[in-house]
Symmetry: C2
Subunit: 147 residues, 2 copies
């Protein structure tokens, strides 16, 4: 019933549970699974870090390590799905604001389902601004499974 | 992968789309499908209606007609699922606050998935207080599919 499922995976416990469900569902439907890990580009953190960073190279190391962590998370999600019998799996990383980036990418890739964890991607932000899963369900143009 | 799916159905367009997906998913999983229609008890509307109701019998006719409409909606959801090949389907109506009633009933019935429309059950309330689907995803103790 679903042909192309996007799993938003950031390595959190919520995302882990979401990955398990997304994998089961992709296998059941014979769907393609697309793993996406969104990370924050340093410019988004600039304001909060500029006072403590001191003489660091402006942002470059931070960017590099966030990108590396995101790549690792996305690859893990891909391996998990492959190991559990999903045949078509791909993994992507993207910098940006989580909910908008997830929904934009799902739209771009013609996904007919987005799977997200109910928590994760910043507990403080979630508390203050509403969780990523809430934002995704609010702006997505396809069904969203919140796990 | 899901064994007992609750579909929250109120007759809105969003709920209609949700019903279609819930039916497909229940069939695919060989799951039991439980249709629930939540309606407002008149006491909840008392404040806003007391000024316009005039000499009506206090609430009883209103209650009666809301219950009848809810019963009709729940039966429609059940028929739809049956007609589309889901073998185990049951339909219930309950009075109460939509999100809490949906989540409480899903918990009581040991459901492992709740399916809700992304809109519906009061557009104005949705605008002012957040939609029912947002509230359900926020308080549910099982995965929620927002369609």
């Amino acid at each position: 019933m679903f042909e192309r499922i996007l799993i938003a995976y950031d390595g959190s416990h919520g995302a882990e549970r979401a990955l398990v469900k997304a994998t089961e569902l992709a296998k059941l439907c014979g769907a393609q699974l697309i793993a996406l890990t969104v990370y924050r580009h340093h410019s988004m953190l600039e304001a909060s870090l500029s006072m403590v960073r001191g003489s660091m190279e402006p942002g470059s190391n931070l960017d590099e390590s966030m990108r590396a962590a995101a790549r690792e998370a996305a690859n893990y999600a891909k391996s998990h799905a492959k190991d559990h019998g999903v045949e078509q799996v791909s993994a992507f990383i993207k910098a940006g604001q989580p909910a908008r980036t997830i929904v934009g990418f799902a739209h771009e890739k013609n996904c007919d389902l987005i799977v997200v964890g109910s928590r994760g991607m910043g507990a403080t932000e979630s508390y203050l601004l509403g969780s990523v899963s809430h934002k995704v369900t609010g702006i997505a143009d396809c069904p969203v499974l919140v796990v």
